[in-house]
Structures are given as C-alpha cells and as structure tokens.
C-alpha cells in the first residue's frame, strides 16, 4: 500500500488521528485527484474495518472538501512537502428524532436529566418530557416568561429528586424540586432567588451543583448556593400590587439572598457560567451587551480579566468541556472564539460567521472540537473549531422561526425556539 501505480501525480501524505482507528505511521503517496471519499475508503481498507466508517479529513486546520489537487493549487503548497492529514469520524447528516410542540416559545432546553428533556417556555411553565415525547410534568413556576433553565446536579445519593433552577422576567430565579420516581412526577417550587431589579437573562450551575450564577439586565451577576434555607432571607417588598401575587404563591417558597454579587459590567449581562475543569475551579465567565467577556474569581467577587471586543454585544457564552476555549455569540452575526490557552488574551482568536444573529451555542462532552449554534433564521449549525470558515453541517429546524436554545448531550441535540422543541440526533464526530 506504499504507493499506488497511477498515471495521476501523487503527493506524500502522513495520516494522524485521535480516534481509536489508527493507521501505522507511514508515508503514503496519494493521487491528487482523490477526494474525501477515496481517502475514507483507503483508511477503511487499510484498517480492514468490519463495518465501514466514513471519515473526514483535516488538512492544515481545514476540512478537505475538494480534491487534493484543487486544495493544493488553492493553497500553493509545494509538491514535495509532506502533508499531515488528520482524520476523524465524519458527522453524519443529523436526523430529526422527535418534535415536542409547545403553545408558546421555548426559551431554554436541557437534556441533562437522563431520558428526559426539560423545556422552559415564555408562558412561565417548566415542562418535562420523556424520550417517547410524553409530557411528564408541567409546572407553572413563574408568572412571567422564563428565560433560562438549568438542572442542578444532585449528589449521587439523591436519585429520586432533581432541582431545576429557572430564571425569569419577574426579577427572580426559582429552584424547583422535581420528583421523578413516583408514578406521576410532581414538582414543587422550594426557593426563589431575590437580587435583581431587572429581568434575569440566564442561570447556570457549576459542575458539583453547589453554586448557581444568575445574570441580569441590570448588569449584576448573583452567586448563590443551592441549599434550601429554613427561613426567608429576604423580606417581602411592600407594595399592594405585589401583595396580591404573593398571596397566590404558596408560603413554602423560601426567599433566598445571594452569597455574593459580581459587579463590573456596564450593560446587560447576557450569560454567566462557571468555568469547567478542575484547574479553573472557582472561576466564572460572563459576557454582556457592553461587548466584554469577563473572568471572575467567584470567591472574592473580583473581575480578574476583561476581554473587550468592540461593538460586539454578546448574547450567549459557552465553554468547551476541556475548558480551553470560550465561545460567545454576538449580535453582529459572529460567534467569537476565545482561546484561553493564549496568555494575555485581549481579543477574539477567531470568528464563525453566521448569516443571521446567532442566539445560542452548545458544546458536548463527546465532541471536543465541535459546537452547535442556533440562529434566528431557524437553522442550527454544527461547527468544527479546527475549521471555522464554514459550518460542518447545518440543519434547518424551522423555516423563518428563531432558534433560541440548544443543548447537546451525547448524540442528542435539543433545540428550542419559536416553534417549540425539536430533538435531533448527531451521530459520529470526533
């Protein structure tokens, strides 16, 4: 297999991979008219795989989409240079698994409860669906639209109940305990978080489930613990109009106060997340409409670093599972990439251009270099961070309806937006 007898000129190539399907390190002479398909066949044949696996190929940080000759002439690479081609299992076209229609817009979805989907909707309800598209639970938590929901990881001993944290336009966030084990799952709101004076934009939790971060339009970030207090920590506000609403709310909702407030943003904070990974413990990131991404030391409540990207008001922020890269979606139709490994980072290290406003980003544990973004044109796109020129694949969820939330766990991508929620399956990926 060292070289193929062919009239077509060939090029020396070395294959590398991070998948379990490794070739012996050896130089191949590849005919220049080969494309992805032939290369994939070559690897399948060389490894003698029982079931053919399609592969995608990365050359110089770019996914190979043309023949090698065209690629070489476009890049101006010399004929003698040995190319290093990395291959990974190619992403199969995503398939729509199920649709979960909602009456109102879905602002946030989560797939973190096994075998279940959680959606938060603009009518103030949290809904729990199982994989067979049945509505398991419908809890009216807020009077106002819910903007975001997250599932607080519970200690392993506690298997029958989960805590959902939801943030809302009504200036509070709520912790709702959901009991899944019983025949009919029940939910009860156990605590409300009182700090903000403007609608909340997001809520997120850390990996251990001990702390929460809320971000709000008033420029503040609240840090909370997840313990349920025995008594109210915040007094009821006066105001006759408020009183009426309080009366309807059950008395067992405990009002919690934040353990710290992070103040530095000059405009609306759109997302605040805890840093992933062990070395970055106690750190948090936030982004906002003041076009900054800030790094916080949560313990001391100090802003450690500010990355200012001029004129890029940000809508969503996420971090890759290995904690190396931050991604922020902004209203100028870009998703900025911040490589945290670069010391003294002052600007974005790359952008992913979208045709419309990207509204949400999701990463998954399984796909280390891949992200899913949803945008206002109703299309979700799968990107590879190594090749940011174009999306790897895109899937049209709704026509002309906005995608507002994505979540990606395993090979399941939950997409929420104007048309309810849809579940798609992405197979493969490195």
């Amino acid at each position: 297999m060292a070289s193929l007898p062919s009239a077509v000129p060939s090029h020396p190539v070395v294959f590398t991979t991070q998948t379990p399907y490794t070739l012996p390190s050896q130089k191949f002479m590849i005919p220049l008219d080969w494309k992805r398909y032939q290369l994939s066949q070559l690897i399948n044949k060389a490894l003698d795989l029982p079931k053919p696996i399609p592969f995608d190929f990365l050359v110089h940080g770019e996914i190979l989409r043309t023949s090698l000759l065209e690629w070489r002439t476009e890049k101006g690479v010399g004929e003698e240079d040995t190319l290093e081609i990395e291959y990974f299992e190619s992403v199969m076209p995503p398939q729509r698994m199920s649709e979960l229609p909602h009456e109102d817009w879905v602002s946030s979805v989560s797939c973190r409860i096994p075998q279940h989907f959680v959606t938060a909707s603009y009518d103030g309800h949290l809904r729990l669906f199982d994989y067979s598209q049945n509505l398991v639970l419908d809890a009216s938590v807020h009077q106002s639209p819910i903007t975001s929901v997250c599932i607080v990881p519970s200690p392993p001993s506690d298997t029958e109940s989960r805590i959902l944290a939801s943030s809302s336009h009504d200036l509070t966030a709520c912790l709702t305990r959901v009991y899944l084990d019983s025949e009919t799952p029940t939910a009860s709101t156990v605590a409300s978080l009182h700090l903000h004076t403007s609608p909340l934009s997001s809520i997120s939790t850390d990996a251990s489930g001990s702390h929460l971060l809320t971000s709000s339009w008033d420029g503040l970030i609240g840090v909370w613990d997840t313990s349920i207090p025995d008594d109210h920590q915040v007094n009821l506000e006066r105001g006759d109009d408020r009183k009426k609403r309080r009366k309807t709310a059950p008395a067992n909702i405990k009002r919690k106060a934040p353990i710290a407030v992070l103040k530095s943003h000059t405009a609306r904070v759109s997302k605040a997340i805890f840093a992933a990974g062990e070395p970055a413990k106690g750190k948090a990131y936030s982004c906002g409409f003041d076009s900054t991404v800030r790094t916080w030391d949560v313990e001391s409540g100090v802003c450690m670093n500010t990355i200012n990207v001029p004129e890029r008001p940000m809508l969503d922020l996420t971090e890759t599972p290995d904690g190396n890269v931050l991604l922020a979606a902004s209203t100028d139709r870009t998703v900025s990439i911040f490589d945290l490994r670069v010391s003294s980072l002052s600007s974005s290290t790359g952008v992913m251009m979208h045709p419309t406003t990207p509204s949400c980003i999701a990463t998954s544990e399984s796909g280390k270099n891949q992200v899913v973004t949803g945008s206002y044109d109703g299309v979700a796109r799968l990107w590879d961070l190594r090749s940011t020129k174009g999306a790897v694949t895109s899937f049209r969820v709704w026509d002309g309806m906005k995608v507002l939330a994505v979540d990606w766990v395993g090979d399941v991508v939950g997409i929420g937006g104007e048309g309810g929620m849809e579940v798609w399956r992405i197979a493969g990926g490195s």
């Binding site: 609608p199 006066r238 609306r268 004129e311 406003t357 906005k402």
Partner: protein
C-alpha cells in the same frame, strides 16, 4: 455709394497686400496667436465703418467720400475695372509702369455696343519689327562676364548653338586709323557682347548730352507742365446726386427730435437741474510760471524701473557644454505648453557669432509688448489642469465608520394593521409598537417575543416612552386620548415611584383646564393607569414628545385648529395650550435637548421658541413644500428636517436660517428621522420602503463643518398602499435601529 464701397474694398485689399508682404519673411519663424477677441474688435471696427458709410449715404451733402471718389482719374477707373474683374495685383503694377511706354499707348473710344468709354490698344503686327528682342545680337550666352571667353576663339553661341566667332580685331594702329578715318567713331562704344564697337543711337546720345548738362535724362520729362485743375474751377462742381430719389423732407426741415432734445436741456437749465460748470480754479490760476522758482519737492523720486535680469551663461551663443539640454530635455521643453515652460529659450551652441540666426521670437516679443500696452495678460490660460476626481468630496469609507446597522436581525409582526408608531425604552430593552387597530405590543428588543399586549380599540397614533430612569412608563396617543401604561416586570421600587407619579394618593389642586386627567389606581395591570382626555374633535394624537426630565409631555393632534398642540405637566396634572394662534398646521414639536427651547414645525417652516421668555427666537426656512418630520441632534445645535417632497435639510442653528445642506436621496416621501442619542448616526425612513443610515459627526469646533456620510440603505419593508416605513427609532446605547412599516412588520436592524 457703390463707388465709395469699391474704393474701400480696394483699400482693404491693399492693406492685406502690405500685411502679406510684411509677413512674408517671417511666416516660417513667427507663430503669432491672434486672439479671437482682437478679431472681434476688428470686425466691430469694420462694422462701425460700414455704419458710417450708411450715415454718409443719408447725408449726401457731406461729400468727402465722393470727393475722394472724384480724385481717381481714368487710371483709377481702370484699376476699378480691374478689381471688378478680380484680376491680380500684377496688373496694377503694370499700370503704374505705363508711364514708361513700353507698351504702346492706349486710346479711349466710346463703345458702339455699351455706349461706355473703353480702352483700346493698337493692334500688334506680328512681323519682324514687332519685337525688338528678335533683332538682337547673335551671341546668346547671356549676361555673363565676357572675360570667360578671352582665351577662346569664339565669343559665345548663337540661338542655334553654333559658335559666334570673334570678329577680326586689328591692333592699336588699326584702331587709331579707324578713329581717324571714320567720322562716326567718336560716337561709338565698345559692345562687350559682340566684342566690337557699335555706334550709339541718337536717343542714347541725347541722354548722354542731358546727363552732361545736368538735366533730367528723360527727354519727355517736362518740368514746367501746366497746372491741371482737377477738383476746382468751372465745370468741376458736383452736379450729380448719387441717387435719383427725390430729396427727403427731413433734409430741409429742422429736426423735431433735436429740438425736443435741446428743449429738454433748455428746460433743465431753466429749472436749475443742470448747472453749468463753474470755471475751475485751475483755469483762473496763472497758466505760465517759472518752474525753477519753487523749491524742489522733498518727495522721493519715482522708483526706477526694475533692471532686467542679467543674461546667464545658458543664454550665451556659445554656452558651456553643461548648459546644453539633452535630447529628452529638449523634447520635454517642446512638449510643454508655452505658459508652463520654466524658461522661454533653449540654450543652443553656435560655433561662431556670425552663425547665430535672427531672433525668432522677435515678433512674438513685440506682440507681447503690445499686449502690455493694452493691459492684457500675456498668458491666457485656456484650460485648467484640475483632476476631476480631486473635486469630489473626500468621504471616509463606510467600513471605517462602523458600527452601524446593516442587517435585519428579527421581525415582529402585527397581523392586523399597519404599524404607525413605536418607542424604545430608555434602557434599550423593550419596544412598544402600536398599530392602527389599537393594539400596543410590548416586546423584547433582542428576542422579539411579545410579553404584553394592550388593546385600546382605536387607532394608535403615537407612542413615547418616558425618559425618566427612576420610573418606567409609556404614553400612547389615540383619538382624543393619551393613555399611560406601566410595563410588567419592573422592580418594586420603580413600580412604586411610577405609580406615585401617575396616580398619586393625594391629587394636586385641580387647575382650570378643559382637559381631564383620569387615574385608575389599583388594577393597573391590564389597562392604562392614567388617561388624559383631550378636547373633543382634536383628532388623532399624531406625535408625542417628552422633555428630557420626563415631567413635561407635548402632544400634537391632527386637527388643524389651534388646539392641536398641548403641553402636559405630569407632576401638576395640568395641561395647557402653549400657543394662542399658530399659522399653519403643526406637523411636529420637539424639546431642545439642553435649553428651554421648543421647536415647532408647521407645514413650511420650523420655528424655535424660547419657553422661558415666551418669545420666538428663530424661523428656519427649509424650503420644503410639506414638512413630515424633524429631529434635533443630541448636542442641540443641529436639526434635520425631512419633507414629503423627499428632501432632507440639515440646519446648523448657529449658522443660518437657511439649511446648511439639502439632500435628496429617497425616491418617495420621507416619513421619519431620528438621531442616535450616543453614536454619530442618523437614519431616515421613506415611503419607498427603504431606510438610509448616515454617519453624522458634529464637531465641537465651530470652524469644522459637520461630516455627513451615507452608510447603508436598509431594505426589507414592503410598500403597501403607497406607505413604506412609517417610523424609525434607535436603540439607546446600541447601534441598532427599530423600524415600523405599513406592512405591519416591526424590524430590528443590528450592526
């Protein structure tokens, strides 16, 4: 008159000949430019002459011209005849030579056919004697030095090419004998051509005699010719009129016109309107005086004329080599225009001074001196060397002026009716849009999700959010009513403040006004918390505007009466009409952002009032047929005014009452204008369905003009029933624009 005309023609022709002759030698070397102006002058002069001729025609008693005509004798008539025949000037020369009688004398005969006199020349008989040149000597060598033939046996050649032999010539003795023998020998002279003595003719002898006597050699010359009376004396008077027309009456009647003119002057003198000039002092002064009697003045003497520059080496006829131009320099010098040359000569090397040719620029130089005398510029620049691109204004590229909105991020749809108005909350988070079916929707700027809807049941004409930061509410204007709404989900403290502003527990003392303020405290969630009822028949409230402190609200209704503008004070719950009488229908009102000034736009004019002093400060004249919209720059020194006739006027309030700039770029009427509160941007929307974004930078330096750069045309709204984008508003703190269209869509445009 025809004869005088001919005479003129002849004179002119002679002039031309002279000019031609003068030009002849210089024709190659001189390149004079005759400017068209001079020619025109010449023509004018000729035209004047012609008109003079006409005058002469009218007054034949002034007969200087005809005298000059009489001057020309027969010979002159001949010449005239020649001129008529368009013959060459050579004939004139031959006429001038006619005194020498080379040709036979002519006779004047009365023609049998025409009855005119004509000149008849005697017939020439072509016999042997008719031409004296034929009997000439046989030697045909011509006028050459005859000593060339000294050593030869012959003298030359005859007409047939045969040799003419030298005649036999005796020696000195023979010659002497010949003089003795021949009695005529003393009247002979040696003829070189024939190399022999020839006897002189009687005429030649006569000439010799006359010369000896000191007389005129011409025998025919008579120094004592009798005087010929050409012009005077009996029979020489002008008796013939030039035309047979009867003498016109005006010739002998005194001119009425002149009389009128004179009488006018006489009357003016009598009435003292014309005063004769008094004898000046200079006249009275002694005319002659001794110039040396006065001491010399101590004035500085007049400046001497500037010295001409000394010639340099390069002007020498034999300059050193380094001064000589190379071939390229020479070519370049020749290719440049005359007025662009650095120096007006090229150094040239001549081996000797005698080889230096005549100065070829002589005529040119004289001509230039003439131009100096006429005070005319020596150089006339015909074209300007201006790069047309340099005349275009230097505008920075739009990419350097980011951010500005350039794409439609999301769209909010009012399904029922066209959206007339929208307003954005001061924190830039919420949009309230009202449509013609009476629905006001409150939605998030960034998600576009409606969170609250109020249904008023009647057309919503205007919505404005209160600019106060400690309270949060919005006003919507409908038919004869203003409704105040509190949006949901505001913090309790803010809600309390807002409620105390709009529905206070203790109402302030009611004032005398025809306007009712109705507060509905309590269930303010679903309906308006406060309603102001404007007087009936005031129509739809077309526009609302807040004072920056959020206490005063001005409303404009669509009725044409004086009750269309109202000023509402929220804290006193009082409304008043600021104007007793307004000329024209008020289109829009605006508060000045910093001063207590108030802009009122009527149909044609924008007036600026000082509210504190209650007087009119300024009337701006945009020159627009019908003003549709205006906005004040956040600095307060500039306003823009848009009209239904597609024009947009930019006013600098410090500068003038006329617009600083008038721009017309929309293809249909302008509907709405808005300055961004913080970014240097403004936008205009139009009935053509487009929104145009401009960069408008205003400098605090008064000397620098505002910079207006067109940035982007946003399209996306449909035109329905001739209406396009009805209102646009910028989002505070962000370079985003929200636009409401007649197609029921409200769009957010992001950068």
């Amino acid at each position: 008159m025809a004869v005088t005309g001919l005479g003129k023609v002849r004179n002119k022709r002679k002039q031309e000949e002279v000019e031609e002759v003068e030009k002849g030698p210089f024709a190659g070397a001189v390149d004079l430019e005759m400017h068209s102006e001079d020619e025109a002058e010449d023509e004018d002069r000729e035209g004047d002459d012609a008109s003079d001729d006409g005058d002469v025609d009218e007054f034949p008693e002034i007969d200087a011209a005809s005298d000059s005509d009489e001057e020309s004798d027969e010979e002159g008539e001949e010449e005239d005849a020649d001129d008529l025949d368009e013959e060459d000037t050579l004939d004139e020369n031959s006429d001038a030579d006619s005194d020498l009688h080379i040709f036979p004398k002519s006779k004047k005969v009365v023609s049998n056919i025409t009855g005119q006199t004509k000149v008849v020349y005697p017939e020439i008989e072509p016999d042997y004697d008719s031409d004296s040149s034929t009997e000439d000597d046989p030697n045909r060598v011509g006028n050459i030095p005859m000593h060339w033939y000294d050593d030869l046996p012959h003298l030359g050649y005859n007409i047939n090419g045969k040799r003419v032999l030298r005649p036999a010539k005796g020696d000195e003795l023979d010659r002497f004998l010949q003089t003795v023998e021949d009695p005529n020998s003393w009247t002979t002279a040696f003829d070189k051509n024939t190399q022999m003595d020839k006897p002189l003719s009687a005429e030649e002898l006569d000439i010799i005699r006359r010369l000896q006597a000191g007389e005129n050699p011409d025998a025919e010359y008579d120094p004592y010719e009798p005087t010929i009376e050409w012009f005077t004396g009996k029979g020489k008077e002008e008796v013939m009129p030039l035309s047979s027309a009867p003498e016109p009456k005006r010739r002998w009647l005194p001119s009425k016109w002149e009389k009128q003119k004179i009488m006018k002057i006489v009357r003016a003198i009598r009435q003292g309107r014309i005063v004769g000039s008094k004898p000046t002092a200079a006249d009275k002064k002694q005319q002659f005086y001794a110039i040396w009697n006065e001491p010399p003045s101590n004035q500085p003497p007049p400046l001497p004329a500037p010295k001409p520059k000394l010639p340099t080496n390069s002007e020498s006829y034999n300059p050193p080599e380094e001064y000589l131009p190379t071939e390229e320099e020479r070519k370049q010098w020749e290719n440049t225009d005359f007025e662009d040359r650095e120096r007006d000569y090229l150094p040239h090397k001549y081996p000797a001074l005698r080889l230096v040719p005549a100065y070829d620029q002589f005529i040119k130089q004289r001509f230039n001196r003439q131009l100096d005398l006429y005070l005319a510029p020596r150089i006339q620049r015909v074209k300007l060397n201006v790069d047309p691109n340099s005349l275009l204004p230097k505008l920075p590229s739009p990419n350097s002026l980011r951010p500005f909105p350039n794409y439609k991020s999301l769209q909010f749809v009012h399904t029922k009716a066209r959206v007339r108005c929208l307003s954005i909350s001061p924190d830039g988070a919420w949009v309230a849009s009202g449509d013609e079916s009476g629905v006001i929707s409150l939605w998030e700027v960034n998600v576009g999700r409606e969170v609250k809807r109020w249904n008023l049941g009647s057309k919503v004409g205007a919505i404005e959010w209160c600019p106060r930061l400690d309270a949060c509410f919005l006003v919507a204007g409908t038919e004869e009513r203003l409704h105040f709404f509190i949006p949901p989900n505001i913090s309790p403290a803010m809600l309390t403040t807002t409620q105390s502003i709009l529905a206070p527990a203790t109402l302030p003392p009611t004032t005398q006004s025809s306007i009712k303020w109705i507060s509905t405290s309590g269930a303010a969630e679903d309906g308006p918390i406060l309603t102001i009822e404007l007087p009936s028949a005031s129509g739809l409230s077309r526009q609302l505007t807040w004072h920056r402190k959020g206490d005063y609200l001005a409303s404009v209704s669509s009725s044409e009466t004086q009750g269309s503008v109202w000023m509402h004070q929220i804290s006193r719950r009082h409304s008043q009409a600021p104007f007793k009488k307004i000329k024209g229908a008020v289109q829009m009102v605006l508060f000045h952002p910093t001063k207590p000034h108030f802009f009122v736009a009527t149909q044609r004019y924008v007036r600026l009032y000082n509210l504190a002093e209650q007087k009119l400060l300024k009337t701006l004249m945009p020159g627009i047929k019908w003003i549709s919209s205006m906005d004040v720059h956040p600095s307060g020194d500039h306003i823009i005014v848009g009209g239904y006739d597609r024009k947009l006027c930019w006013f600098d309030l410090e500068l003038s009452e006329k617009p600083y700039k008038v721009i017309r770029y929309h293809s249909r009427a302008i509907r709405s204008l808005h300055f961004h509160p913080t970014y240097p941007l403004f936008a205009s929307s139009s009935d053509d369905g487009s929104i145009q974004i401009f960069h408008a930078r205003v400098y605090s330096d008064l000397m620098t003009d505002p910079l207006i750069v067109p940035l982007k045309i946003l399209r996306g709204h449909d035109v329905q029933e001739g209406l396009g984008v009805l209102q646009i508003k910028w989002v505070n703190k962000q370079p985003w624009l929200v636009s409401a269209g007649a197609d029921g869509n409200v769009s957010l445009w992001c950068s």
